[in-house]
């Protein structure tokens, strides 16, 4: 056997296990999910319906109610990016002790959403920390459980989500700031710009790529990583107040045992995520050709 064909053989043999694992457990199920989504299936009997399952979903008001929650959660994204951006700028001033603070801010990244949800549940409850704080500043009379109202529960979920994203996004921006050419900042200082002007006019425009990356990570998390948080904090309620599409898949598939409809919601989620990914790719391409 020639060296060339031995090389080829080794390449194929070494890549097979990874490919097999990914295809069997991630690739094939996507195809199955598309098929399931066009059936009516309660776990025992499966009936083929066809693509009309999608039209009946799109006329279901509950589906739109759930999708609305996803849309509302997107309103948290600017905060989940803006706040970490400011924190990163703060750390990037390299005031004494900044490394220690960096470790502290990043710590929640290691913590399960389950544990975070466990705390948030107490934090937002009627006798919880938030209401105590509000009581101290004179709003004690309005003590309510934020998780008891549909709108307020979603707000509580969004706040918890923003807090949880601080570590990851701060780290992304801090990494970005470290790549900047320090002479640019120096030049701006010489030109008489103050810290805020430097941040707005010099640092931020140079961080575009990192902001985009953080944006995609944040949107993906908002749509597909909040299951544990919702499970622990609200169970999707009250009503459908905090049911997002990803949680709806779980409820429909595993609590109501409607595998067909559940799979359909999963496919819609997949399409939304794919669109987000493609937009990101487009942005990067456009930027590359722009140089």
């Amino acid at each position: 056997m020639t060296l060339r064909s031995r090389r080829r053989r080794a390449g194929i043999v070494l890549s097979i296990p990874a490919v097999a694992l990914v295809v069997a457990l991630l690739g094939v199920p996507i195809g199955q999910a598309v098929y399931y989504s066009m059936t009516m299936w309660n776990g025992t009997t499966s009936t083929w319906i066809g693509p009309s399952t999608y039209t009946s979903t799109f006329t279901d008001p509950i589906f739109w109610r759930v999708l609305e929650n996803n849309g509302l959660l997107l309103l948290a994204v600017p905060f989940a990016i803006g706040i970490p951006l400011l924190i990163a700028a703060l750390l990037n001033e390299h005031v004494r002790g900044w490394r220690f603070f960096r470790s502290v801010y990043f710590l929640p990244t290691a913590i399960s959403w389950v544990v975070i949800g466990m705390f948030a549940l107490r934090f937002f409850s009627a006798t919880g920390v938030l209401n105590q704080l509000l009581g101290h500043v004179g709003f004690g009379a309005q003590a309510t459980d934020l998780l008891a109202g549909e709108g307020s529960a979603l707000l509580a979920l969004a706040i918890t989500f923003i807090w949880s994203m601080v570590g990851t996004n701060t780290m992304i921006f801090l990494t970005g700031m470290a790549t900047l050419d320090p002479t640019l900042i120096e030049a701006a200082k010489v030109d008489g710009l103050n810290r805020f002007q430097i941040f707005w006019r010099v640092t931020l425009p140079l961080l575009t790529r990192f902001v985009q990356f953080a944006f995609v990570i944040t949107v993906i998390s908002a749509f597909s990583a909040l299951f544990s948080l919702i499970f622990v904090m609200t169970g999707g309620g009250p009503g459908f107040g905090t049911t997002t599409l990803e949680f709806f898949v779980y409820q429909t598939g595993f609590q109501q045992v409607q595998f067909g409809v559940g799979a359909l919601y999963g496919i819609i989620l997949f399409v939304i995520m794919a669109v987000v990914g493609l937009v990101q790719l487009r942005l990067i391409r456009a930027e590359d050709s722009g140089w």
Binding site: A18, F101, Y105, M118, F227, L245
Partner: protein, 269 residues
């Protein structure tokens, strides 16, 4: 307005402290309230070990910590085995179409778990894999493989082709070259993958909840289902939160550098 240099530095420091308090407060709250009885919690006064007693009475803590460890270890071993070999193949042993295959593997990153969870469940149940660790371990391994493969391939691309070719010329063969030369060189990347995956799997709820039998639940799943019962006392839940978070925190504190590197490497497109 000209702020004196020193004063502004103090203002920045004070701001950093405020942010630190916001980020650390939940941890303090958990520790403070884990050491209370239900009564002491209601009054927010006094401390005891009652919460811990209740936790251990309601949750097989030690067994579940062991389950978490086993599931993490097994899944990580599989991820490392397939991602190092495939990463090496995609970076150094390219064959016709290997670029496309690489893209195929990495693009699986885009698949949200919820989109495939129902067929996954049906398939695993069909092969009787949901009444032991096996099903969950396989799913964790598959979910971790795309990013790990991407990371390993990126790392192996940094190793010079000459080094690999020289080893092959010396008669090592490609498989031995991988094992004896490339693999030891990639220890930093292996550490990054291990830490990232450990935290991800340790902290996961959905896969464990659906694919692990009740008596083999991980600590994170155990804690979540305990809370869903709503009957358990809050101090016990806080104690459980601490127990489940500590291993991940320890790993984070020791391997912080690797975790950050893994996160930022994701930005390498």
């Amino acid at each position: 307005m000209v702020i004196p240099r020193k004063l502004s530095t103090w203002a920045l420091f004070a701001l950093m402290v405020v942010v630190a308090v916001i980020m650390l407060y939940p941890f303090w709250y958990m520790i403070d309230n884990a050491f209370r009885s239900g009564n002491q919690f209601d009054r927010q006064n006094g401390h005891s070990f009652a919460g811990w007693h209740q936790l251990f009475a309601n949750l097989p803590v030690v067994g579940q910590l062991l389950n978490s460890t086993l599931v993490c270890a097994a899944a990580i071993v599989i991820i490392l085995a397939v991602s190092t070999t495939a990463g090496f193949a995609f970076a150094k042993l390219q064959y016709r179409g290997s670029g496309t295959v690489f893209l195929l593997v990495v693009s699986a990153l885009m698949v949200p778990l919820q989109s495939i969870i129902i067929p996954e469940y049906v398939n695993l149940a069909k092969f009787n894999l949901t009444n032991s660790y096996t099903g969950a371990v396989l799913v964790y391994a598959a979910l971790g493989t795309p990013f790990a493969t991407f990371l390993m391939a990126t790392y192996y691309r940094g190793i010079s082709d000459e080094l690999i070719e020289a080893a092959v010329m010396d008669g090592l063969g490609y498989e031995r070259t991988f094992l004896n030369i490339a693999l030891p060189l990639s220890l930093p990347a292996i550490a990054t993958v291990t830490v990232l995956q450990f935290i991800q799997i340790w902290d996961d709820l959905l896969v464990g909840l659906l694919f692990l039998p009740a008596n083999q639940r991980t600590i994170t799943v155990g804690l979540a289902t305990l809370s869903a019962g709503r009957t358990t006392s809050i101090p016990a839940l806080m104690a459980g939160s601490i127990v489940s978070a500590i291993p991940a925190i320890i790993v984070y504190l020791i391997f912080q550098r690797h975790l950050i590197k893994g996160l930022t490497l994701g930005m390498g497109r």
